[in-house]
């Protein structure tokens, strides 16, 4: 399964509409033209597809979210009690988490 993406996606030379706009159009078509005709399990599937498109669209538009540096070592240090009450680390974690939420979560919150 292809999982990796380049950190920075430069789409300026791609044909218009650019892929994020294309995803937005695909999602709108799904929600406006397809979902109203569905019920039950197929409707649930279609709404999940719309949700997945929204996440992919935000990822293309939303810049980069690198992994925290030395994340594995950081985990071990937290577990060992080396970062108890470390307000600076808490702030770093919160900032990183906000970037992750901007991609994965609905923007309403």
């Amino acid at each position: 399964m292809m999982e990796e993406c380049s950190d920075l996606v430069d789409i300026s030379g791609m044909e218009h509409p650019h892929p994020p706009a294309l995803l937005a159009a695909a999602r709108a078509a799904l929600l406006e033209k397809v979902v109203p005709a569905l019920e039950g399990a197929p409707k649930f599937q279609a709404l999940m597809i719309a949700n997945a498109i929204a996440i992919a669209q935000r990822a293309l538009e939303g810049g980069t979210v690198p992994e925290l540096p030395h994340a594995a070592e950081l985990c071990a240090a937290i577990r060992a009690g080396l970062h108890d009450d470390d307000a600076a680390l808490a702030a770093t974690l919160a900032q990183h988490n906000e970037a992750r939420c901007r991609i994965s979560s609905k923007p309403s919150r």
């Binding site: 999940m48 997945a52 996440i55 594995a72 950081l74 985990c75 974690l93 988490n97």
Partner: protein, 323 residues
């Protein structure tokens, strides 16, 4: 279910019982539930037959154990479907099954949290749910298949379990480690050990206009701290977007009052809030493992894949509760 299975099933039912209708209610990857309409000497009755799906891959709790848990809960006065008959003989319908009385009501979380009337109104509903939880925690029936709680504080046991799960996954999770360390430092030295349901949350609880009609899904029942179930119920991730802090349905005060009225045990709000952090971590670990089932190719499925994307929001809840 074909004619031969239906005939074999009828032969196992009490004398004079005739199957008048049968339809699949829900077919999960693990269990199947069949609505069974029967006629017993002229009296109609509505039952549910619960059995394993053809391809049971996971180590789900055997039907016989689930049946024993339901019996113990029913005897303690918990609102569960009355368990009627267990059959471990796989030659009847191809897998072990049990039959319980069918209960009626609404369980869907998004409907429950929007209703002002189900369960007799929000405050009455959560008070009734508090009483149900108290009755579950009062179960004293010997259930030999349940592992005794180890001689360690339940919260420390939880921290150790979650760390073991995280060690087996591919991605480092600093926020979950941060939350677990917070719990490790805050954990009380000891707690009463009671039978916990361990999945007592909106979505698994059936209500009608009058009250609670069914506490469902006993798959995860185990011994633990009484505040564990209260925290799982109140955690923000199980409120379905509602502002009401007890399960998205009503107030904490009403839930706690119902619990205390039935059990005689006061609820320690600080402990419930610690167990809410634990609940959020537990749900994140489950979500990670569901996404992993998709990522590994074991079960490619969009629902599992999207479940992974709720983890950042759960991590946000953990950070907000611990900083």
């Amino acid at each position: 279910m074909d004619e031969a299975k239906r005939a074999a099933l009828t032969a196992r039912l009490p004398h004079g019982t005739r199957i008048t209708g049968m339809s699949l209610l829900s077919g999960g990857a693990i269990q199947q539930n069949w609505a069974l309409n029967v006629d017993i000497h002229g009296q109609p009755a509505q039952w549910v037959l619960r059995t394993d799906s053809a391809a049971t891959l996971t180590h789900s709790r055997p039907r016989g154990e689930e049946f024993a848990l339901l019996k113990a809960a029913f005897a303690a006065g918990v609102a569960v479907p009355e368990p009627l008959l267990l059959c471990n003989d796989t030659s009847v319908i191809g897998a072990p099954f049990f039959i319980m009385r069918r209960v009626h009501g609404t369980a869907a979380g998004h409907l429950l949290v929007r209703s002002e009337t189900l369960g007799g109104g929000r405050e009455a509903a959560v008070a009734a749910l508090g009483r149900e939880l108290a009755r579950i925690h009062s179960v004293k029936t010997a259930l030999p298949f349940l592992t005794p709680h180890p001689p360690i504080a339940p919260m420390l046991r939880f921290v150790a379990d979650m760390r073991a799960h995280l060690d087996a996954t591919r991605t480092p999770r600093p926020v979950l480690e941060w939350g677990l360390r917070y719990l490790e430092r805050a954990a009380p030295a000891a707690a009463d050990i009671v039978l916990c349901h361990n999945d007592f949350r909106t979505g698994n609880l059936m209500l009608n206009a009058q009250g609670v009609t069914g506490v469902l899904d006993w798959e995860f029942a185990a011994f633990g701290d009484r505040h564990e179930d209260l925290g799982w119920f109140c955690a923000r991730c199980w409120r379905f977007g509602s502002k009401h802090e007890a399960g998205g349905i009503g107030s904490r005060a009403a839930l706690y009052a119902g619990y205390t009225a039935e059990s005689g045990h006061p609820v320690d709000d600080a402990q419930v809030r610690l167990w809410e952090i634990a609940a959020t971590i537990r749900w994140a670990v489950i979500a990670i493992s569901q996404a992993e089932r998709h990522l590994s190719g074991a079960e490619e499925n969009l629902e599992l894949a999207l479940t992974g994307h709720i983890v950042p929001e759960l991590e946000r809840d953990i950070l907000r509760a611990t900083t």
